[in-house]
């Protein structure tokens, strides 16, 4: 198989690093360049809303690899210099500082940018949470705050609320859905999560629309709901989702549509690939286009793209995995959960604070969710892999 002479990876985070490591592991000996917009060497995001925000970890602990391990990859690393233009035919990237980098294969791994509220003013006290710098700034703000409003009922919003609450702050969470994580986990499990938050003292304002932020010259003062009610706050966390960081690709000619649109090999054009949160690729197993926002996908897709760059020509068909830690609860999901799926708890019970549930649709098992049930969840994953018939699920029940 012929290897390209050179590979350039744009985006120096977990997905980009996985490409670089996998390339070297698979025997790529050519020139390798990693380009990143942030000044930090590759670090891990999941701890940002958990251990870093809680102050249990120094920010430095999020580093994904020590200097020595990075040095072994024998790559040129350029940090703090965002890519601003991609020339697809010329296989070249131009950076903000004016560098022009060329390579035979280029990997796009630029992740996401947090959405902001329409007209979100840059008041002190208003925070998003995506980067290490965001996490450090939010922690500093929380240490000086007493009332926090979190806008957003997804994974990030609920984690931020849990961490802020555990720090002893008064926390209100506002979101448009009928329950927490309703679109990700469905109403039943979402309801258990809402009960967990309420039990820990978080005020939930579900099914509520935010009209605007309220503030004065000095800082944010609260959040106004549609209908006029103002929830007072000295810190507001805006966690209303993210959009793929593809602005810099607008004139590249690549197909963009909620991410960089790729084929089943995660290839966006000849010699151009996408990885991680930014990539929308065709999942052959599902027969549908998919974009995932989780850490395991970034790494596995990185490995898949590295293999394809080196000539493997294999479709990428993962069983997705994500987890979230909130208070002392660890939720893990293999496969697909989803709002409309059927759900059956097969082991443990919500009352016991430990359970595993199977998700199914179209007559097949599509996902498994564990709530403080790690080993059983891992074992049940096999039913997702095999797409076990839903009619057999009742016979799996141990609870």
């Amino acid at each position: 198989m012929t290897h390209p002479a050179s590979v350039l990876v744009v985006g120096a985070s977990v997905g980009g690093l996985a490409v670089a490591e996998s390339l070297r592991r698979d025997g790529f000996a050519g020139a390798l360049t990693l380009l990143g917009a942030e000044r930090h060497p590759p670090y891990d995001r999941p701890p940002l809303s958990k251990k870093v925000l809680a102050g249990e970890w120094e920010p430095d602990r999020t580093r994904l690899r020590a200097d020595a391990a990075l040095a072994k990859l024998e790559m040129t690393t350029i940090l703090g210099d965002p890519a601003v233009h991609l020339d697809v035919l010329g296989r070249a990237v131009t950076t903000a500082s004016g560098r022009r980098l060329t390579a035979e294969s280029i990997v796009l791994a630029t992740g996401l940018e947090p959405r902001r509220l329409p007209g979100q003013a840059p008041w002190p006290g208003v925070h998003v949470l995506r980067t290490l710098d965001d996490a450090v700034a939010l922690r500093t703000a929380l240490l000086a705050a007493s009332q926090v409003v979190v806008v957003g009922d997804g994974v990030l919003g609920t984690e931020a609320a849990a961490t802020a609450r555990a720090m002893g702050l008064a926390v209100t969470l506002v979101g448009p859905q009928t329950t927490l994580l309703a679109s990700q986990l469905g109403p039943q499990i979402g309801g258990h999560l809402a009960a967990l938050h309420t039990g820990r003292g978080v005020q939930l304002r579900l099914g509520a629309a935010v009209e605007s932020l309220v503030g004065d010259e000095a800082r944010v003062r609260g959040v106004r709901l549609a209908g006029g009610e103002v929830l007072p706050a000295d810190v507001v966390v805006v966690a209303i989702g993210s959009r793929p960081a593809t602005d810099w690709l607008f004139d590249s000619g690549l197909r963009l549509g909620d991410g960089v649109v790729c084929d089943s090999r995660c290839r966006a054009a000849e010699g151009i690939y996408a990885v991680g949160d930014v990539a929308r690729w065709h999942h052959e197993g599902l027969g549908a286009a998919l974009r995932l926002e989780n850490r395991s996908n970034a790494v596995e897709q990185g490995a898949a793209v590295a293999a394809n760059i080196l000539g493997k020509d294999r479709p990428y068909t993962p069983v997705p995995f994500f987890w979230t830690d909130q208070y002392d609860v660890k939720i893990q999901v293999h496969g697909f959960a989803g709002a409309d799926a059927q759900v059956i708890i097969v082991e443990g019970s919500p009352e016991a604070g430990q359970f595993a549930a199977l998700y199914g649709s179209a007559g097949k098992v599509t996902g498994v969710l564990g709530w403080n049930m790690v080993k059983q969840t891992r074992a049940l994953r096999q039913h997702v892999v095999e797409a076990t018939d839903w009619s057999l699920v009742n016979s799996l029940r141990k609870s």
Partner: protein
């Protein structure tokens, strides 16, 4: 090859157990158990892959040659 796991970083995903069940196991709370600190040559590829995909970046390898 020497395998080192950082229990504090481990987030209990179990990806390592799926990839190399002879080298890794999990406690009931999900935290990794290292079964074989010096896995045999035949398992090196799987262990390297586990270190790469570990969502907690909790697996470190020394002299991964």
């Amino acid at each position: 090859m020497r395998v080192i796991v950082d229990l504090e970083k481990c987030c209990g995903a179990g990806q390592c157990v799926l990839l190399a069940p002879k080298v890794f196991d999990q406690r009931d709370d999900g935290i990794v158990i290292l079964l074989d600190e010096h896995p045999p040559e035949a398992l090196h590829k799987a262990v390297r892959e586990a270190a790469c995909v570990c969502p907690g970046a909790a697996i470190k390898l020394e002299d991964p040659a």
